[in-house]
C-alpha cells in the first residue's frame, strides 16, 4: 500500500463522510486513516528492502566510522593525546566542543517528546520518536567525545563512585563528576523514555513480521498485548517519565555549562551560562530535528503522509522563538562580561571579534540569528521543508561555532599572557566527523529496525481531533483522551 498526493483524495473520499478537504490536507490529525492501513504504511517504510543508495551511504558511513572513529581513537589511545591539537593553554579542544554539541542535539528529543507532550502540543505526535532517537544517539556521541578527550581513558571507571579498598571516591566538588552523573542519568532515562512509547509499536511490528524480525520484536515488546490494563500502566509510566525527564534535561545542560561557568577563567565565569546553554542546546537540537525530519520525509516511504509542511511550520515557529531567546541570552552574557570591565575578559572579547578567528564570531551570529530570523518569520517559507532544514543546518553550524568560541578560542586568553597560544586541531577532526558519521549510521540502522513513527500516538491524536462547525466557522476540537 502506498501513500502519495494522488491517492490521497480517493482515500479521503472513502473514509470521511464529513470534513473539509482543506483542513485534512493540512493537518495530519484531521486526516485519519484506518488503523490497519497506517500500521502497514509504517511497517512498509521500515521493512522495504534497502536500495543501493541506502547501502552506498551506509557503506561510506561505515568506512568513515571505522577510520574516523575507531582507528583514530585507537591511535589516540596508543600514542597519547599529543596527536590531537590541544596544548597549553587550550587544554580542551574540539573534543569538548563536540561533547557540548552532541548533548545540545540530544536536547531536542526530550524537548519535543516530553515538554510538548506535557503541554499537549498536538503537532508533536508523528515525530516524537524521531526526536527521541536523536537524544539517545546524540548522547552516545557525546559520551564518545568526552571519553576521547581523557588522557587515560582506560581508567575512566575511576570517575564512577564504586566502593574500593583504596577508599577513594570521585571528587563530588568537581563539575565533571556532576557532569558524568547527569549525562549518565540522562542517557538512561532518555533511553527508557524512548523505549516506553515504543512498546505498542513494537508489539504491532511483532504481529506484522516474520523471521528474525519477529524474534527481535517479540523480545523487545515484552509481551505487550494491548489490554486496557497494559495501556493504563504504560500511560502512567509515560506521564511520570515525561514529567521526570524535564528537570533531568534541564539539569544536564546546566551542569555542562557549569564545567565552564564554575571555572575561574575569564569569559567562562558567568552566572548566565546555565540558561544560555539550555537555550543554545534547544536551538541546535531543533535545528537538527528539522534536518532529520526533512531527510526522513524525502527518503523513506510513506513519510509524506505523516510528516507534513504543518510540522515544519510548527517547528519553524519554535526555532524562531528559540533563536530569539538565544540572542537574548547571548546579548545578556556579552553585555555583562563587557560591562564588568575585567581586563582579561575585555581582552578576550576583543580577541573573539578581532582575533585571527574573528570570522567565527560573526559567522556564529549570522547562522544563529540573522538567517533564522530572515527566513522563519514568513509562514510560507517556514513550510518549505528543504528551506527550513537548510536553516537548521546553519543553526547547527552556528551553534558548533559558538561552542568552539567558548572552548578553544576562549582558552587562548588567560591571566598569564606569556602562555597565550592558538589552537590548531589535529586528529580531533576525523574523530569529530567519525562521531557525526556514527550518529547517521545509528539512525540509518534504527530506521530499518524500529518504527520511526509512533503509530499509536498518531491514531490516538486522530481519534481525539474533530472538525466541528460553529455557525459558519469550522474549528478543530480536541477531546480529552485520558
Amino acid at each position: 500500500m502506498t501513500y502519495d498526493k494522488k491517492e490521497k483524495k480517493v482515500v479521503h473520499a472513502e473514509h470521511h463522510a464529513h470534513g473539509d478537504d482543506h483542513f485534512r490536507e493540512k493537518h495530519l490529525m484531521l486526516d485519519p486513516l484506518p488503523r490497519g492501513q497506517m500500521n502497514d504504511m509504517v511497517m512498509e517504510s521500515m521493512t522495504e528492502p534497502p536500495t543501493w543508495k541506502f547501502w552506498l551511504v551506509f557503506g561510506i558511513l561505515s568506512v568513515i566510522v571505522a577510520y574516523g572513529l575507531f582507528y583514530s581513537w585507537a591511535r589516540l589511545i596508543i600514542e597519547g593525546v599529543g596527536i590531537a591539537g590541544v596544548n597549553r593553554p587550550s587544554y580542551w579542544g574540539i573534543f569538548l566542543v563536540n561533547t557540548v554539541f552532541w548533548i545540545g542535539i540530544s536536547h531536542a528529543g526530550t524537548f519535543i517528546s516530553a515538554i510538548l507532550r506535557v503541554f499537549r502540543a498536538e503537532f508533536r505526535r508523528p515525530f516524537t520518536r524521531a526526536a527521541e532517537l536523536m537524544t539517545t544517539f546524540g548522547l552516545v556521541q557525546a559520551g564518545f567525545s568526552i571519553f576521547m578527550h581523557l588522557g587515560r581513558v582506560w581508567l575512566f571507571y575511576w570517575l564512577l563512585p564504586y566502593p574500593n579498598e583504596r577508599m577513594l571516591w570521585p571528587n563530588m566538588h568537581s563539575p565533571l563528576s556532576w557532569d558524568l552523573i547527569a549525562i549518565t542519568t540522562y542517557l538512561l532515562s532518555s533511553t527508557m523514555y524512548l523505549f516506553l512509547p515504543l512498546i505498542p509499536d513494537l508489539a504491532m511490528a511483532r504481529d506484522k513480521s516474520t523471521g528474525w524480525r519477529k524474534i527481535f520484536y517479540r523480545t523487545l515488546a515484552l509481551g505487550f498485548r494491548g489490554t486496557e490494563g497494559e495501556w493504563a500502566h504504560l500511560r502512567n509510566a509515560m506521564n511520570i517519565f515525561a514529567w521526570a525527564i524535564i528537570p533531568v534535561m534541564f539539569s544536564v545542560h546546566t551542569i555542562v555549562s557549569w564545567d565552564f561557568a564554575a571555572a575561574t577563567r575569564p569569559g567562562w565565569n558567568s552566572t548566565i551560562f546555565g540558561p544560555y546553554f539550555i537555550v543554545g542546546a534547544l536551538h541546535s537540537g531543533m535545528g537538527a530535528v528539522i534536518v532529520v525530519l526533512a531527510i526522513i520525509r524525502a527518503t523513506m516511504k510513506n513519510m509524506k503522509y505523516f510528516i507534513r509542511p504543518e510540522h515544519f511550520d510548527a517547528i519553524g515557529k519554535l526555532m524562531l522563538v528559540i533563536s530569539m531567546g538565544w540572542a537574548y541570552f547571548f546579548f545578556n552574557d556579552y553585555m555583562v562580561q563587557w560591562y564588568g570591565g575585567d581586563k582579561w575578559t575585555k581582552q578576550l572579547l576583543h580577541f573573539h571579534e578581532g582575533g585571527p578567528l574573528g570570522w567565527m564570531w560573526f559567522a556564529m551570529l549570522i547562522c544563529n540569528i540573522a538567517i533564522p530570523w530572515a527566513v522563519l518569520w514568513n509562514p510560507k517559507w517556514r513550510s518549505i521543508p528543504w528551506l527550513v532544514s537548510m536553516v537548521g543546518i546553519f543553526i547547527n553550524v552556528g551553534m558548533w561555532l559558538e561552542r568552539y568560541i567558548i572552548i578553544p578560542i576562549s582558552l587562548t586568553i588567560n591571566r598569564m599572557p606569556f602562555t597565550w597560544r592558538m589552537y590548531t586541531p589535529g586528529i580531533e577532526i576525523p574523530l569529530g566527523i567519525g562521531t557525526l558519521a556514527f550518529f547517521c549510521l545509528l539512525y540509518m540502522a534504527a530506521s530499518k529496525l524500529i518504527p520511526l513513527i509512533p503509530v499509536w500516538e498518531v491514531q490516538e491524536g486522530q481519534m481525539a481531533h474533530k472538525l466541528t462547525k460553529y455557525g459558519r466557522e469550522t474549528v478543530v476540537t480536541v477531546s480529552e483522551l485520558e
Binding site: 574500593n164 579498598e165 583504596r166 577508599m167 523471521g211 528474525w212 524474534i215
Partner: protein
C-alpha cells in the same frame, strides 16, 4: 539463521559446548591471574627457613631496611663470608650457582618478590622505626624457602594499617593517609 543457532544452542549438546567454552575462557583467565600470585623463579632456591633456623636475623642480610628506603639484597660477598666455611657449599647442587657466581665475579640475578609500583615511594626505615616487624608484611620467613608474598601489596593493604596505626590522632592520620606521603 539466528533462530536456528538459538535452537541448536538449546539442545543438550549445545549447552555442553557453551559450558566448555565458558570453562576454557575462565580457566585461562584464572591461570593468568595465578601466575601473578606465585613466587617467581629464582636463580637459587634460597631457603629462608634454614637460615632463620640458624638464628640469623633479617637485618643481618637486609640491613638497608633499618637505614633507608630499600632493604636490599645481600652482596654475594656476604653470602660467601659464611658459606666458604661450610663444607656443604662445595658439594651442594643448590649452592653451585653461588659458587660459580663468586668465582666468576658475576652478580647473581635475583628476581624481586616484594615490590610496589614505581609510583609508590616506600621507605623501610620509617616502618621499622615505627616498630613494625618484618613479618607483618613479608610473612613468616621461617616457614618458606624462597620468599613469597603472603599478601598483595596494594593500596588497601597499606592504607588499612596506616589508618589503624593513626587511631584517633588526627594529625597523624593527616600524615599517614595523605596522598603525598607515598605518591609523588
Amino acid at each position: 539463521m539466528i533462530k536456528r543457532l538459538f535452537d541448536w544452542l538449546k539442545q543438550p549438546l549445545g549447552l555442553i559446548a557453551v559450558g566448555i567454552g565458558f570453562l576454557a575462557v575462565f580457566s585461562v583467565a584464572a591461570y593468568g591471574l595465578s601466575t601473578t600470585q606465585k613466587a617467581p623463579e629464582q636463580p637459587i632456591q634460597f631457603p629462608h627457613k634454614t637460615h632463620i633456623a640458624f638464628g640469623i636475623q633479617c637485618l643481618y642480610c637486609h640491613p638497608g631496611a633499618a637505614k633507608g628506603p630499600a632493604a636490599g639484597i645481600p652482596s654475594q660477598a656476604k653470602c660467601w663470608a659464611c658459606h666458604q666455611q661450610i663444607a656443604k657449599t662445595e658439594t651442594s647442587e643448590l649452592l653451585a650457582p653461588l659458587k660459580e657466581a663468586v668465582e666468576s665475579g658475576t652478580p647473581i640475578q635475583w628476581v624481586p618478590v616484594a615490590q610496589v609500583p614505581d609510583f609508590v615511594h616506600f621507605n623501610h626505615r620509617a616502618h621499622i622505626a615505627a616498630g613494625k616487624n618484618c613479618e607483618e608484611c613479608h610473612g613468616d620467613m621461617s616457614k618458606v624457602t624462597i620468599a613469597e608474598n603472603p599478601q598483595v601489596f596494594n593500596m588497601g593493604f597499606c592504607l588499612n594499617c596506616h589508618i589503624k596505626s593513626a587511631g584517633e590522632d588526627q594529625a597523624k592520620l593527616n600524615k599517614l593517609a595523605d596522598c603525598g606521603t607515598c605518591h609523588y
